[in-house]
């Protein structure tokens, strides 16, 4: 406008609309990065396939009865060294910050293909490369699975904490269940590791209460 209007708060000349818009966008970037406690926007090197993402989010929306407080993380298995003839696989998850002590819910989602023979008895181990002996493993959970499709396997959140490594390795070991005994011969079991139905980990983390640590120490 002809007459330069002034800012009603501080009396300085107001900005031209474009300049104000550019300032607002910069403010928005700062505010979001601060809110997410990031120093810069993440550079996504290997985004999950859109279909896998959509499927995982749809599953979680169906599953989550009450809105979780704090943070929820979905981490897709990036590598497995599964020999497709058996179902002993190692799933690797890249977690920016391995779940802190505030982790309170963990589930491993596996998609079992229709070729599943009868009931599967599955054991899930956490593989830790940093123990005294070369790579030792800790049993996390045992599950029985009958029928193909998605299975959400609960893991003890205490078993996933600690260690500053950014990688979490889970080893799967399964047997076919016949009567009450397990058949030593490993059944044919294919895991979809690269497609839309690759395994993923679902974690829920309590918000870091400011000063909570101090209260606990006191």
């Amino acid at each position: 406008q002809g007459v330069r209007s002034v800012c009603p708060s501080c009396g300085a000349p107001t900005l031209a609309p474009q300049a104000e818009r550019a300032l607002v966008l910069e403010l928005a970037k700062q505010q979001i990065l601060e809110g997410l406690r990031l120093t810069s926007r993440p550079r996504i090197t290997n985004p999950p396939p859109q279909a896998a993402l959509t499927r995982a989010l749809r599953r979680l929306r169906q599953e989550s009865v009450a809105p979780a407080t704090g943070e929820e993380v979905i981490s897709f298995a990036t590598t497995t060294d599964s020999s497709t003839s058996t179902c002993s696989s190692t799933l690797t998850f890249h977690l920016s910050t391995l779940p802190s002590r505030h982790l309170y819910h963990a589930r491993l989602w596996l998609h079992v293909l229709p070729a599943l023979p009868g009931t599967l008895y599955l054991r899930i181990f956490r593989w830790s490369p940093r123990r005294r002996r070369r790579g030792s493993r800790t049993l996390l959970a045992e599950h029985q699975m009958t029928g193909p499709g998605w299975h959400a396997l609960t893991l003890p959140s205490s078993g996933l904490r600690g260690e500053e490594s950014r990688f979490l390795k889970l080893q799967l070991d399964c047997r076919r269940l016949e009567g009450n005994s397990t058949n030593a011969q490993q059944p044919q079991w294919l895991l979809d590791t690269v497609g839309d139905q690759r395994p993923f980990l679902e974690l829920k983390i309590q918000p870091n209460e400011p000063g909570a640590g101090r209260a606990k120490r006191r």
């Binding site: 800012c7 708060s9 809110g35 989010l57 897709f76 890249h94």
Partner: protein, 114 residues
């Protein structure tokens, strides 16, 4: 609360909608598509001091204090947020994990005079 119009000199809420596409951040922020970046601006003359833009009781308490002590208070009253709400974000972190988190006090809903 008062939403700012161009000629509003008094304390009000200035609304700006920011689309993440405009920031070039739609590749890592999955949900929502944008958010309201509002801020407070405008004057707070003495008779508005303490008017939080919503309830009057606090305003009347401050007003009577002002009258009781001195007609021309030395301090100034500022136009500040009086109500804010969190923003729920779904985004990809640097390892391609999907993170859903609630950022507290992200959206200014009401402005008032301190």
């Amino acid at each position: 609360t008062l939403t700012c119009e161009p000629e509003t000199p008094l304390c009000c809420r200035r609304d700006h909608y920011v689309d993440f596409q405009e920031l070039g951040w739609q590749d890592w922020i999955l949900q929502p598509e944008g958010y309201q970046l509002n801020y407070c601006s405008g004057q707070c003359p003495p008779h508005l001091a303490g008017s939080p833009g919503i309830a009057a009781s606090f305003h009347s308490a401050v007003f009577s204090l002002l009258k009781a002590n001195n007609p021309w208070p030395l301090g100034t009253s500022c136009c500040v947020p009086t109500a804010r709400r969190p923003l729920s974000l779904l985004y990809l972190d640097r390892n391609g994990n999907v993170v859903k988190t609630d950022v507290p006090d992200m959206v200014v809903e009401a402005c008032g005079c301190s």
